[in-house]
């Protein structure tokens, strides 16, 4: 019951907190404090609203069920989204694989085969990663590509990272992500409201026109009350200001399990904030996730083989002198990982343990089933014996 009433309770709690703040504000204004100052003081005195709500929700109980349901919703959303993508892809490739590289910077050599939009200077994805958890430095855009990845196309890069949202003088942490302009076109997502980021949003010209940002549906509901007028409103993140151009669909929860970005900004925003020290130019910025679609008619194995073949050249051309001395980088390779379920760092860390646990649970279930079956069998045999005895005594009909 607690669980089913949760939605209503959430609304009531919001109103209760709002009422508290209004009353506190009113009390202060009656004492002669200016309205704005009173509002600020009331909020200051109240403390962290979200934290209060969070702790109050814990008091309701049934939290694990709500979280489980939330998690299930995310998973279902993933599945739905993946199914959609899979269907979209099928006529082109026939292969159910996404491509995902992790860890390294590799420059745009790998995406040289990517057809660029007319008028676009080509600021599409330029980073791919290998499968190591090591850091390396590759200078972007140094020389023309010697060999390009032939098996994949439509890459995009996305970098998860916590951000600080500033709103009415109050700063609070949010989950954010930087994405290349190709991200949403590649994912083929439809916006919940407005539009999603495009190639043009990640171009240098966007800096003069105002950087675009997209927000998640939950963020939209929480901060803007689901108001369609959110489009065109400014949002201040990490000290920089962007303009909200759209709301992401509820089905999109990012590409990393357990990390759902509330705000997604184009990489150019990072350039606007940090200039030359932006991750776009810095070699020590890693942990970009790159995803791509397989080219039509190319199988996963073919694309993998292609990447492995060009990996040496790509790394050699991309690594700076310092990193070329490091064996594991110089002799590195690139590999493909199916990305249909996104990236799951925890799954990678605890994958073996979870599989072991699952196997043990499976074995336990088999033992239980075998025990139950033998118990049932012995009961049946006993019953059969009971039936045989009256039948032999000529009482079978009466027994029935």
């Amino acid at each position: 019951m607690t669980f089913w009433r949760r939605k209503a309770r959430e609304t009531e709690l919001d109103e209760e907190v709002r009422t508290h703040l209004n009353m506190a504000t009113q009390a202060l204004t009656e004492r002669g404090v200016a309205q704005k100052e009173a509002e600020r003081a009331a909020k200051r005195e109240f403390g962290n609203v979200e934290l209060t709500k969070e702790v109050t929700r814990d008091a309701w109980g049934g939290r694990w069920l709500a979280k489980l349901n939330q998690r299930r919703a995310v998973r279902l959303a993933d599945v739905v989204e993946e199914s959609r993508l899979h269907r979209d892809r099928r006529p082109h490739t026939g292969a159910g694989h996404w491509l995902q590289h992790r860890c390294f910077f590799v420059d745009r050599r790998l995406v040289a085969a990517e057809p660029r939009r007319s008028g676009s200077p080509g600021v599409g994805p330029n980073h791919l990663r290998s499968t190591w958890n090591r850091r390396a430095t590759l200078q972007p855009d140094v020389r023309p590509p010697s060999r390009a990845a032939e098996g994949v196309h439509r890459h995009f890069c996305l970098r998860n990272g916590p951000m600080v949202l500033s709103k009415k003088g109050v700063a609070r942490p949010i989950t954010g992500a930087y994405a290349t302009g190709s991200a949403f076109p590649t994912l083929k997502l439809k916006p919940r409201l407005g539009r999603l980021l495009t190639w043009q949003d990640d171009e240098p010209s966007a800096l003069s026109n105002g950087v675009a940002a997209v927000i998640s549906e939950d963020f939209w509901l929480e901060h803007f009350g689901g108001d369609p007028g959110v489009l065109g409103q400014p949002i201040t993140v990490d000290g920089g200001t962007a303009t909200i151009v759209g709301v992401m669909p509820r089905s999109f929860n990012g590409i990393t399990v357990d990390y759902s970005p509330q705000v997604v900004l184009p990489f150019i925003f990072d350039v606007a904030l940090h200039g030359k020290s932006s991750c776009r130019f810095r070699s020590d910025c890693t942990w970009f996730f790159t995803m791509a679609r397989l080219k039509p008619g190319v199988t996963f194995a073919q694309a993998q083989a292609n990447l492995a073949a060009i990996a040496g050249d790509v790394l050699k051309e991309s690594l700076t002198e310092g990193y070329q001395r490091i064996d594991y980088l110089r002799n590195g390779t690139l590999s493909l990982i199916p990305g249909r379920t996104g990236s799951s760092p925890l799954g990678k860390v605890y994958g073996r343990e979870l599989w072991t646990l699952q196997t043990l649970v499976g074995l336990l279930m088999i033992i239980c089933c075998a025990n139950l079956a033998s118990l049932q069998l012995s009961r049946t045999l006993n019953r059969q014996h009971e039936l045989v005895v009256p039948a032999s005594c000529g009482e079978y009909a009466a027994f029935r």
Binding site: E12, L13, E16, H20, M23, E45, G47, V55, A59, G61
Partner: protein
């Protein structure tokens, strides 16, 4: 600044469990909303006890779940819709028990602190 720091240092943290007692006691005087409860506790303690909203609202909802208090939406004297809490019969019994326990506890502490008076 120094005054603020001193005020912070002098702030009396509520003992674990006493918040429920204070809330129930406040509601014995009549139905009240969250803001009213915090103000009442502050005023009746001579501005010494300041209940953090981060503790107050979870406590109110916890007590409501335990059916020690019940809530009802009403319009306040300032024409605002507010959630008013009031004691239930179970809450009154609980308050009585808790008051008795607190009395014993405070006497015990006083006995330790002032052994010559006992």
């Amino acid at each position: 600044m120094a005054e603020k720091k001193e005020r912070y240092q002098n702030r009396i943290e509520l003992l674990q469990g006493t918040l429920d007692l204070l809330v129930l006691q406040t509601l014995q005087w009549g139905p009240q909303h969250g803001y009213g409860i915090s103000i009442a506790i502050r005023n009746h303690s001579g501005e010494i006890l300041q209940v953090h909203t981060g503790s107050l609202y979870p406590a109110l909802h916890r007590l409501e779940k335990q059916k020690l208090i019940k809530a009802e939406w009403k319009v306040s004297e300032n024409k605002q819709r507010a959630k008013y809490y009031q004691l239930t019969a179970a809450g009154k019994k609980h308050l009585s028990r808790e008051r008795s326990k607190w009395s014993q506890f405070s006497q015990a502490i006083a006995g330790v602190l002032n052994p010559e008076q006992t």
